[in-house]
């Protein structure tokens, strides 16, 4: 009996070990197979490096700073990721941020209701997103040109309604931008929550599958019965709405809605999306990867200040890290193909 039990135990142990080895090997294969793994490893290495070289990095305050700094780019990147996966691009997100911010502040001031301000910000972003979607699907203007146009229109509208001057935004709604729950910035909590929602939408719903299908092969998708126009429109609407939320959060954080808010953000957002493994050609990408991409860029900027890196080197450093992170993935894929 004992021999049997011991034998069974040994057998179980051997099987467990084999399963664990397969599990470990499987995990490694899983990591190697993911497009965003190189970026994730870069993120981890920078995290470890900063923990060693800066005594302030792992403090609650600094981690809260980093969390806040990656939040707006991360949130807007979620929407941009859906657009790019569907085969498009949205250059207007930075301008939507500015427009939403000032409309939130102006509506709040005009009606005395921060709630209306929140609605105005989200509605503005959604409206611009809808215009983008309709121009692309109905009028058949390419996404690049459409969103280049709405980039100018939205920014101009923000400047027009404010005459170029910032508008105060200091009320309870601003708490979404500057507030904390415990030590965690509210913005970051919103980023995590929205990441889960968008991941679920993209990976677990029919709409999400349609987005990937349309991005991969729009013609085949149409023949398979997917409503390509509706799919493309919806991703721009989501992207616009999230950019509107980004504008609200920035205005809240600064308690000041400047019409130039978000200037240049489209480049940061697109970089975060690409870093996160989304293919510019469409049809591929993961939402967790986008968050990793946004986190990498935020962490780099935090690192520059913590390590007192001269501004002259910062731009070079960002470029080198991007090339390294994405290049490592390309190199590995080429090696695998061979």
């Amino acid at each position: 009996m004992t021999k049997y039990v011991v034998g069974a135990h040994i057998n179980l142990t051997a099987r467990s070990e084999a399963a664990a080895a397969r599990g470990l090997s499987g995990l490694l294969d899983l990591i190697r197979g993911r497009r965003e793994s190189a970026v994730f490893i870069t993120l981890v290495l920078i995290f470890i490096g900063l923990s060693i070289y800066s005594e302030f990095f792992l403090t609650a305050r600094n981690l809260a700073n980093v969390a806040r700094q990656i939040s707006v780019v991360g949130i807007v990147s979620l929407g941009q990721a859906l657009v790019i996966i569907a085969g498009g691009i949205d250059l207007s997100v930075g301008s939507i941020i500015g427009l939403s911010a000032v409309l939130a502040a102006l509506c709040t001031a005009a009606f005395g209701s921060p709630l209306l301000g929140i609605v105005a910000a989200l509605a503005a972003g959604t409206a611009v997103g809808l215009v983008n979607g309709l121009l692309i699907t109905k009028v058949k203007i390419t996404p690049f040109i459409t969103t280049l146009g709405t980039l100018s229109v939205a920014r101009g509208a923000a400047l027009l309604v404010t005459n170029g001057s910032p508008v105060r935004f200091n009320n309870w709604a601003a708490w979404l931008g500057y507030g904390k729950i415990g030590v965690v910035p509210v913005q970051f909590i919103l980023l995590i929550a929205l990441s889960v929602v968008v991941w679920f939408f993209a990976a677990r719903t029919r709409w999400g599958r349609n987005i990937y299908a349309v991005g991969d092969n729009a013609r085949a998708s149409r023949l398979a019965g997917v409503n390509v126009r509706a799919t493309r429109t919806i991703v721009f609407v989501i992207c616009g709405c999230l950019a509107g939320l980004g504008g609200l959060l920035l205005a809240g954080m600064l308690t000041n809605a400047n019409p130039s808010l978000g200037l240049g953000y489209e480049l940061d957002v697109i970089a975060a999306v690409i870093l996160g493994g989304v293919a510019m050609s469409g049809g591929r990408g993961s939402i967790p990867g986008v968050v990793i991409g946004a986190a990498l860029m935020g962490l780099l900027r935090n690192a520059f200040v913590l390590l007192n890196v001269s501004g002259y080197w910062q731009t070079i450093a960002i470029g080198l890290v991007l090339i390294l992170a994405v290049g490592a993935d390309s190199f590995r894929r080429q090696a695998d193909d061979e």
Binding site: N62, Q69, G164, L254, V305, G311
Partner: protein
């Protein structure tokens, strides 16, 4: 000579003298008093009188920020002041993109519309040849706010000297810190001559007079308020002994907000540029210790009135007019 001839000659001489004296009387009229609103923002050049014939002058300026809005105040005041004096000011709005190409296009438009004089913030070296072309066409040009680093043939260059403005900021900072402490520097664009001059003007003085003061940065915020917020937050986190944040260009509100949010008001101060209404709250509350002002409204107003005087009365002005950098202290500043 008979009486008739004598009277005729005398009458003729009298008429001739009166006619000759008329333009001289107009040309030498007393200065037209400056309006109260113009005096409030520091306008200092008064019109010499009404122009003998109608004049048209062009003001080219940018929009899109509180700074340019402040310049607009001076432009509107000058237009209202000069209108009854026979000079029409046409405001050619260049938009929000600060590039040499935009300014060159504006100068081309001013030439095409045959204005008698032009005032513009030329700023960039790429505008030099166009400015020279305008001047060569007999149209005086006043460059205000910031002139190109390469000297053009502009008639008058008006502005604060960026390096000296930096030194003013540096002097103020030294007074606040008393010779020791730590400063973080946030600059707009590392490649912008004006931002570099402001930065170096302050830092050269500080390094010379207080070598014990530590300087971290510069960090480039590209005039972005949110970037200034993030950089100020990180600088305060990684430098608990930080005393002051020096912002050389746009977005200092972000740095001041970061100080407030970190609960460091009174411990960390911000010194920046341009005394604008959007920064008043931080001055009053104590986050902003001082703002070094360029007086954009005054510069816009003075440059237009100068053009009026040049064209109407052949008044001459020095080729370089330096506007003193006014340091406007906040409530938290040590006097």
């Amino acid at each position: 000579m008979n009486n008739y001839t004598r009277r005729t000659v005398f009458a003729g001489l009298l008429a001739g003298t009166a006619l000759a004296a008329l333009p001289l009387r107009v040309a030498h009229a007393d200065d037209v008093p400056l309006p109260k609103d113009a005096l409030a923002f520091g306008a200092s050049v008064a019109a010499k009188g009404k122009a003998p014939k109608p004049l048209r002058i062009a003001m080219l300026s940018y929009q899109g920020t509180a700074f340019w809005e402040a310049a607009d105040v001076g432009i509107r005041a000058a237009a209202a002041y000069l209108k009854p004096l026979g000079t029409t000011v046409d405001y050619l709005q260049l938009g929000t993109t600060l590039t040499p190409e935009v300014m060159v296009a504006g100068l081309d438009a001013a030439l095409a519309k045959q204005y008698g004089g032009v005032a513009a913030p030329t700023i960039f070296d790429g505008t030099v040849s166009k400015v020279n072309e305008v001047v060569a066409a007999g149209v005086p040009v006043i460059a205000f706010i910031a002139d190109s680093a390469e000297r053009s043939n502009r008639t008058v260059g008006m502005g604060t000297l960026a390096y000296q403005a930096g030194q003013s900021a540096g002097q103020f900072i030294l007074k606040q810190l008393g010779g020791k402490g730590k400063i973080a520097v946030i600059t707009g664009y590392l490649g912008a001559a004006q931002h570099n001059d402001r930065m170096n003007g302050a830092l050269d003085l500080i390094k010379k007079q207080a070598p014990d003061i530590k300087i971290i940065g510069p960090f480039e915020n590209k005039d972005d308020e949110a970037a200034a917020y993030a950089q100020a937050s990180d600088a305060m986190t990684s430098n608990p002994d930080l005393s002051l944040i020096y912002v050389t260009a746009g977005g200092p509100e972000g740095a001041a907000k970061a100080v407030r949010d970190a609960g460091m008001t009174g411990k960390v101060g911000v010194v920046a540029y341009d005394d604008l209404p959007s920064r008043l709250d931080y001055k009053e509350h104590g986050e902003m210790l001082a703002l070094v002002d360029q007086s954009p409204a005054r510069q816009a107003f003075d440059s237009l009135v100068m053009l009026h005087n040049m064209l109407a009365f052949k008044t001459t002005y020095p080729a370089d007019v330096t506007i003193p950098s006014r340091v406007a202290p906040g409530k938290g500043a040590k006097s």
